[in-house]
């Protein structure tokens, strides 16, 4: 278990320690809230058989992925990557916007990117609101999107990584959280 404490934590009685358990609780709540509210599907927290290595792809190598990224900056800094396979990204987009598959094909990839960007924004927003309320005020960055197949994201050495898997409607959603280690005590 990773343990995070802030430098000023001891001086701020309202500030809770950012423990791995807290991060897990916040991201679990965030992912569940967003997928349940916006696409009507309830993800379940999943524990992978093996802990992925730093350079290892978090998703099956043969499945194209849409990855939303949103950062949070303030008293705690970090970045969250939300991985969805393309098929699930399309399904979520159709549900969010009330579109058919055919309408989505006509609308193009931009629409999927924007929808997944917004879902990531909501997820990270919900996650970081937990951090704010725990005494670590921070703000969101504007979402961006990565697309591709068989890729891995390698964090810089000063970042601490937390990876959480969720099963949702026969698809896997991965939340890859990188937090700057100087936010640790």
């Amino acid at each position: 278990m990773h343990l995070f404490t802030r430098n000023l934590a001891d001086l701020m009685p309202a500030t809770a320690e950012i423990t791995e358990a807290l991060i897990r609780e916040y991201i679990n709540r965030a992912v569940t809230d967003v997928f349940k509210t916006m696409v009507g599907r309830e993800p379940s927290f999943s524990t992978p058989a093996d802990t992925p290595q730093q350079s290892q792809s978090l998703t099956p190598p043969d499945r194209p992925q849409v990855v939303g990224t949103v950062g949070f900056l303030g008293d705690v800094n970090g970045l969250v990557y939300l991985h969805l396979d393309l098929a699930f990204a399309r399904l979520c987009t159709c549900h969010l916007l009330g579109m058919t598959e055919q309408e989505l094909d006509e609308a193009g990839d931009e629409v999927i990117n924007d929808a997944i960007g917004e879902m990531t924004n909501m997820t990270v927003g919900s996650f970081k609101n937990g951090l704010c309320d725990a005494g670590y005020p921070c703000k969101l960055t504007i979402p961006s999107i990565l697309r591709g197949t068989n890729f891995s994201i390698e964090p810089i050495s000063s970042a601490v990584r937390h990876v959480y898997f969720f099963d949702c409607a026969e698809h896997r959603v991965v939340a890859d959280i990188l937090m700057k280690s100087d936010d640790q005590g």
Binding site: D33, M122, L140
Partner: protein, 388 residues
């Protein structure tokens, strides 16, 4: 009046969701992708409500809100924040600048609409002229009354109508029923304990689904103070106990905006029949009078020029009925329609007692009336009495 709503969000997805949420309502949606665009659209369109995100490129929502609130021309526009930024401190900071409400993403469309409806009076959009519901169509009426005998009395009294009448005894049950499937009419007893009727009424009026549902107050005739309170609060009508069923039926039909003309006017073969019921209360006569001219004109327009004015069901004659009959006869003359009267012995005898009606002549039945009309001269009969 069509309300204008401006959604300011850098995510096209959110703007589409907002548009989708407002689709059932008569609202014009304007879009902006950042604070600069948002201010420009706000200045040009002066929307009735702004939905504002915080994290946006070019100009964020906090800056836009600050500028909006410092502009005398725009500062009165209500703003609801719709944002993923939901930390307590952020919310408090923004609330101080001045927002009407705060909705944290993810959000349900129903919640967004519910919050917006507290700011603007959202009305469902009319998709073309809807077919008017008639007295012959089914409707759902919810009776909230803790005395089962009253519920039973209403169910019994209105059983000849196609209306489905459901009775519940408590406010809790009433809330459940009203929110699950919005009734066409709610009748609530003011004698429910702890002013529950008034609490329930307030709740109905703040809920978007039941905001426009007609609500009747059921109250003992002598409880004048309660009746005044109900009127002040805006109950659609007051029904006094003991309940006069024809009054309840008539008021219910009016409140549900039902076309009740079929009660009094119908086409029978090649002629039009105007029929008055057994008891002709002032409400019944007023209702029949409302449809008189349009229905006669409609019949003429459709090629019918013969009318049977059937009052054989009427128990007793009074000035209200006589006045309505004169009006009907005059309308026939104006429209060059042939008409005859159908009455019963009691009515015929009573007619002899009034100067104005003494000369009226009656047929005994509809068949008799049809025969008479088939022999009718081309010219419209002169009216001293009826033209039989």
């Amino acid at each position: 009046m069509r309300y204008k709503v401006l959604t300011v969000d850098d995510s096209k997805t959110v703007r589409i969701i907002v548009k989708k949420a407002f689709k059932p309502f008569d609202v014009e949606i304007f879009e902006a992708a950042n604070g600069v665009e948002g201010l420009a659209v706000a200045a040009k369109e002066t929307p009735d409500l702004i939905l504002l995100d915080i994290t946006m490129p070019v100009m964020d929502g906090v800056e836009m809100l600050t500028k909006l609130k410092s502009d005398p021309a725009l500062k009165a526009i209500p703003v609801i924040m719709l944002t993923a930024e939901g930390g307590r401190d952020n919310v408090l900071k923004i609330a101080k600048i001045g927002v009407r409400d705060y909705l944290v993403k993810p959000f349900k469309e129903e919640v967004l609409i519910e919050k917006c409806s507290r700011v603007i009076d959202l009305k469902p959009v009319n998709e073309g002229p809807a077919k008017a519901k008639s007295i012959l169509d089914p409707a759902d009426i919810l009776i909230v009354e803790d005395k089962p005998a009253i519920i039973q009395q209403i169910q019994e009294g209105l059983k000849h109508t196609p209306w489905r009448i459901k009775g519940v005894a408590t406010q809790g049950e009433a809330i459940d029923c009203a929110t699950k499937a919005t009734p066409d009419l709610i009748v609530v007893s003011l004698s429910l304990p702890e002013d529950a009727a008034f609490t329930f009424f307030r709740m109905l009026r703040t809920n978007l689904k039941t905001k426009y549902t007609p609500v009747f107050a059921l109250v003992v005739k002598t409880e004048v103070a309660q009746q005044q309170q109900a009127q002040t609060m805006g109950f659609s009508a007051i029904i006094t106990k003991p309940i006069e069923m024809s009054e309840l039926e008539s008021k219910a039909a009016k409140a549900m905006n039902l076309d009740t003309s079929q009660r009094y006017y119908a086409i029978n073969g090649d002629l039009m029949v105007m029929r008055l019921p057994e008891i002709c209360s002032p409400a019944v006569l007023a209702e029949a009078a409302t449809y008189l001219k349009p229905k006669f004109a409609e019949a003429v327009d459709a090629g019918f020029n013969k009318v049977v004015i059937d009052i054989h069901q009427v128990k007793s004659l009074h000035m209200g009925i006589i006045k309505l009959l004169f009006q009907a006869m005059q309308t026939c003359r104006d429209l060059a329609m042939h008409f005859v009267l159908v009455g019963n012995p009691q009515i015929i005898s009573e007619c002899k007692g009034f100067e104005d009606t003494r000369g009226w002549t009656f047929c005994d039945s509809i068949d008799d009336a049809k025969n008479t009309l088939s022999k009718a001269p081309v010219a419209v009969p002169q009216m001293a009495g009826a033209s039989a």
